[in-house]
Symmetry: C2
């Protein structure tokens, strides 16, 4: 079982999830599993190789697996993670000096397509709209569960980005606390009269860091870029959370994500990447997506200072990322 541990004296947390770990030597060789497609647990036809699905999107309906009956012929499939970082029924843990909390929460995998080998860039408008609908449904569902304070939604693609399986998928981890990173943002934003993200939209829309826009969202390389070719996507209107986000804006977010990933694929030769959604349903926060290809290493300096050295200026990155 896992537990959520607090730093000795700071407002920082880590999750000790030792279920998967064996001996030190197992850890050394941890690599992306290159499985034969016939054995891929996320592939259509292998539904019995995962825990029963919690939500299955099929022909416009939302279904769920029964213990022994799996929905087949699906479009998007949401399943509990087989090796969860947190669990809805954590073991009881004796509290210690440094607040060892049981690892309460939910950990779900969203399989984005039944077909192995496709990427986000391959998805049609219709498929992308469905994925964004699933994102919204699942986040809103977990955000309303008792004891949940934050739902982290993210995608790891490629070995350097931490993906352990090739078949494209996203993950959702629902936590019993608002992460310090978001709380620090929230504290500052609530002290500022005008939403700082609205201000950023206004300024970056016409800056040399502009990358892409559609009716609802703006994509740009942020002035403060902690990774080469990092892109932020912001709704142009003030929206705090998926719960308050129109389906149309969700689709526009998906459209911008697909544009950016396609450009990465072209100019950076399909690099590993992560994208993450940041949102707080408090009225003042401004929903945003950050996409980071993994092209550099978080090394000793970053670990010592939390200041990132980025060897590509966001102005240069934007000039490559804009449609040529």
């Amino acid at each position: 079982m896992s537990d959520i541990r607090k730093h000795y004296f700071l407002d920082e947390y880590c999750i000790i999830a030792s279920e998967r770990s064996k001996r030190p030597s197992d850890l050394v060789s941890e690599k992306t599993e290159r499985v034969a497609i016939s054995n891929c647990v996320f592939c259509s036809g292998n539904e019995d190789k995962t825990p029963p699905a919690t939500a299955v999107y099929k022909n416009g309906d939302v279904l769920e697996d029964k213990q022994d009956v799996h929905v087949t012929g699906w479009d998007v499939r949401c399943i509990p993670n087989l090796f969860p970082a947190v669990s809805p029924t954590p073991a009881k843990i004796e509290p210690s000096d440094w607040q060892i909390d049981a690892g309460f929460g939910y950990h779900e995998v969203i399989v984005e397509t039944p077909v192995h080998g496709r990427t986000i860039s391959d998805l049609s408008d219709h498929e992308l709209a469905l994925l964004m609908r699933a994102y919204k449904d699942r986040v809103v569902h977990y955000q309303s569960q008792t004891g949940i304070e934050y739902v982290s939604l993210f995608k790891n693609w490629g070995e350097r980005a931490g993906a352990s399986l090739e078949h494209i998928h996203s993950q959702l981890i629902a936590l019993p606390l608002l992460p310090p990173l978001l709380r620090r943002e929230q504290d500052v934003i609530q002290d500022i009269k005008k939403c700082p993200y609205c201000d950023i939209v206004e300024k970056e829309e016409n800056s040399e860091r502009f990358v892409y826009e559609n009716a609802d969202v703006l994509a740009f390389t942020p002035h403060f870029s902690i990774a080469p070719f990092e892109v932020w996507i912001l709704p142009k209107q003030h929206i705090d959370h998926f719960a308050n986000c129109a389906d149309e804006v969700m689709r526009s977010l998906g459209d911008a994500i697909r544009f950016v990933i396609s450009r990465y694929d072209t100019i950076l030769d399909s690099p590993s990447y992560n994208y993450m959604f940041y949102q707080i349903a408090d009225g003042s926060y401004h929903l945003n997506v950050r996409i980071q290809p993994v092209l550099a290493t978080r090394a000793g300096f970053e670990k010592n200072t939390d200041i990132y050295i980025n060897t590509v200026s966001p102005e240069d990155a934007a000039s490559y990322l804009r449609e040529q």
Copy 2:
């Protein structure tokens, strides 16, 4: 030239150092340079392939290179980084809305031995004492320079830890600001009556996370471990900074670092690792070293929340790391 950029509205910083970067395709293939030993710029005999050394330790003396005359036969050699993240003579930058600062500072490389292929575990007591002396001298030197607020001292070893050259070396980056990570610690510590690190020494010395100790320092896997097999090393007595650290304690720190690296080499098959020194000369901070082998990936969840998922409990890690 580089510049230090502030986040749009948070107290966070990054350094844009685009001097080395070329086209996106160059970035994709960035790997550890496997150079022939005869071409290694850190090897004895190749002194003319680096900028002139700022400090050279030789037979107990501290010398320095003249423009055209290099000290040879050295034990430890400190040189300016050829591709610095910050510079003592930065270009002037037009200030913008988000405080673009010129990248002022110093970036130095400490070559730990003239011999290629050796590791920290191979160093004798005498060699280790000399390295620790160089660490102290160089940090204290830069800490006293006008405009410098923090000196980051760290070591990257192995490709996954961000080392771009095989020949063992440490790096020092002197910055015009106290990094937010340390400032947050300082704020909390100054609010607490008793030093929290002194409290940690007392509690972890007899815990199941104990790894190693000598007369002056304690090594343990912290209760709050953000990476598998992370180890912290703390002086047993309250010491804030190298400037106030006796040579004997510096040597004891080196001894504990060597012990931990040797154990990593044995049980984790010489993994990539980083170690970092954390210190503030303010009386209340407690000097500490953190060592992290690179066995996991900072993926989407960590980037979204700043909460780390660690698959090895520090209690298990300590049991492997203790002398068998």
